[in-house]
């Protein structure tokens, strides 16, 4: 684990808490979960559950997923076109759309007839956005701005260069301030020499 960042698996974990609609084929009473009540479930009656529970039930063949609107061929093609036309970042279906699409494509293949095409579209969209992101970041460091507004980028996208970006900014910051401040600035401290002569503390035995 490293501080300063979340990795994709951890983001996927967060995405699993998002609610999706399933159509159960079993009957269950209300689940009193810590995060709130779920159900009751009746066969063929749509019900909202967190994604992780949907996956668990699907693995036991206890439900089908109502595939979210945005995960259709049409919607994604539209999103891709939009993203290609824009210089800036286009709007996304939700904060965890990438993570969710992965989980859904992994576990609910039967519900998604064009899963391969969809998988490729999602990947294309991410690639387009990531290359925009690198462009912006490159520009940012080049102009050496010390503050930025970064809207509409999702967590998973920043996963690919968040540390590189923040550490790069840190380094640039240091170079710019080299030798400028005495106190606190690491550039001035020189760590292994002693300020006071140590001989004074030595007593010949």
């Amino acid at each position: 684990m490293s501080t300063g960042t979340f990795d994709p698996d951890e983001l996927e974990f967060l995405a699993e808490d998002i609610f999706v609609t399933i159509i159960p084929n079993v009957k269950f009473p209300i689940f009193y979960m810590l995060s709130g009540d779920i159900g009751p479930m009746e066969p063929n009656i749509p019900v909202e559950v967190p994604l992780w529970l949907a996956v668990h039930m699907r693995q036991r063949r206890q439900c089908r997923l109502v595939v979210p609107e945005w995960l259709s061929l049409e919607a994604l093609m539209e999103q891709k076109d939009r993203e290609l036309k824009l210089d800036l970042f286009g709007e996304v279906p939700g904060p965890f759309y990438v993570e969710m699409s992965q989980i859904i494509l992994d576990n609910f293949t039967e519900e998604i007839p064009d899963s391969n095409k969809i998988r490729r579209l999602v990947k294309d969209i991410i690639d387009i956005r990531l290359s925009k992101l690198r462009g912006t970041v490159g520009l940012h460091v080049k102009k050496s701005e010390m503050y930025a507004v970064v809207n509409n980028i999702t967590q998973i996208e920043l996963c690919s260069l968040r540390n590189l970006l923040t550490r790069g900014m840190d380094q640039l910051d240091m170079l710019k301030n080299a030798g400028l401040h005495n106190a606190g600035g690491a550039s001035q401290s020189f760590s292994d020499d002693s300020s006071a002569l140590e001989v004074s503390s030595m007593n010949p035995s």
Partner: protein, 238 residues
């Protein structure tokens, strides 16, 4: 130290990379005598065994810094930070190879060494500089230190884009030759960038996410002991 980057290692007492940086040598001229230390530089050893004023020798940065503060020596600005090198860096920063043996003797500690050298500038303004010019001709003036600094900044800004592009490529795309061009801190950034990029890619391809893996430390340790064992065996056979 995990995810080491210059901002975290520079001046950090416990950092291995900072220790390696401060091991870099500078060419120095002593301006005072040191009793009984003549054996350090036998060629210019004085009769009484002292290390004497005027001796020219290479000293590691960790020694230069306190000696310079006491004004017991002057150091020469390494060629990698002198005007010619700065001009080369300014013309095409992406091409320059930060490694020994290059024309301007760029080192793989280009930025951190620069960060240490800049504060060593003599804090004298131009007018008083004129008066002491002859004495100080070898040392680093405040003016020049500023030039060095702005060179470091612009070099880094321009090379950062390249690091970002490289980190986007898959591992084998970046040749060993490319890597050799980078300074230590740039290489650390590249590693950070690659690790991030790879974790996203392999997550995306669902390669490893679900499979739990044994620790690499175990594998490393096994390799190491296997190696030691095979050497032992080899010795016995001989």
């Amino acid at each position: 130290m995990k995810n080491a980057s210059l901002a975290l290692t520079h001046g950090n007492y416990l950092s291995l990379s900072d220790i390696m940086v401060t091991e870099e040598k500078l060419l120095c001229t002593l301006t005072t005598d040191f009793h009984g230390l003549g054996y350090i530089q036998p060629s210019t050893r004085s009769e009484n065994g002292d290390l004497v004023e005027g001796t020219v020798l290479d000293l590691p940065l960790w020694m230069v810094n306190p000696m310079k503060r006491n004004q017991w020596l002057e150091f020469q600005l390494p060629t990698a930070y002198q005007e010619e090198a700065r001009r080369i860096l300014c013309a095409d920063p992406g091409i320059v190879e930060f490694r020994q043996g290059s024309r301007c003797r760029f080192s793989q500690n280009h930025y951190p060494l620069g960060l240490y050298i800049i504060p060593l500038a003599d804090n004298i303004n131009n007018s008083s500089l004129l008066a002491t010019q002859i004495v100080k001709k070898k040392s680093l003036t405040l003016e020049e230190a500023k030039e060095v600094r702005s060179s470091l900044v612009s070099t880094f800004q321009l090379r950062f884009r390249q690091i970002m592009d490289w980190s986007n490529k898959t591992c084998h795309d970046t040749s060993a030759h490319d890597l050799k061009r980078l300074d230590r801190s740039e290489r650390q950034l590249l590693e950070i960038g690659k690790a991030e990029q790879n974790s996203l890619i392999s997550w995306n391809q669902r390669k490893k996410s679900k499979i739990l893996k044994p620790s690499t430390a175990i594998k490393n340790a096994r390799l190491m002991t296997d190696y030691a064992d095979s050497r032992k065996r080899a010795r016995i056979e001989v």
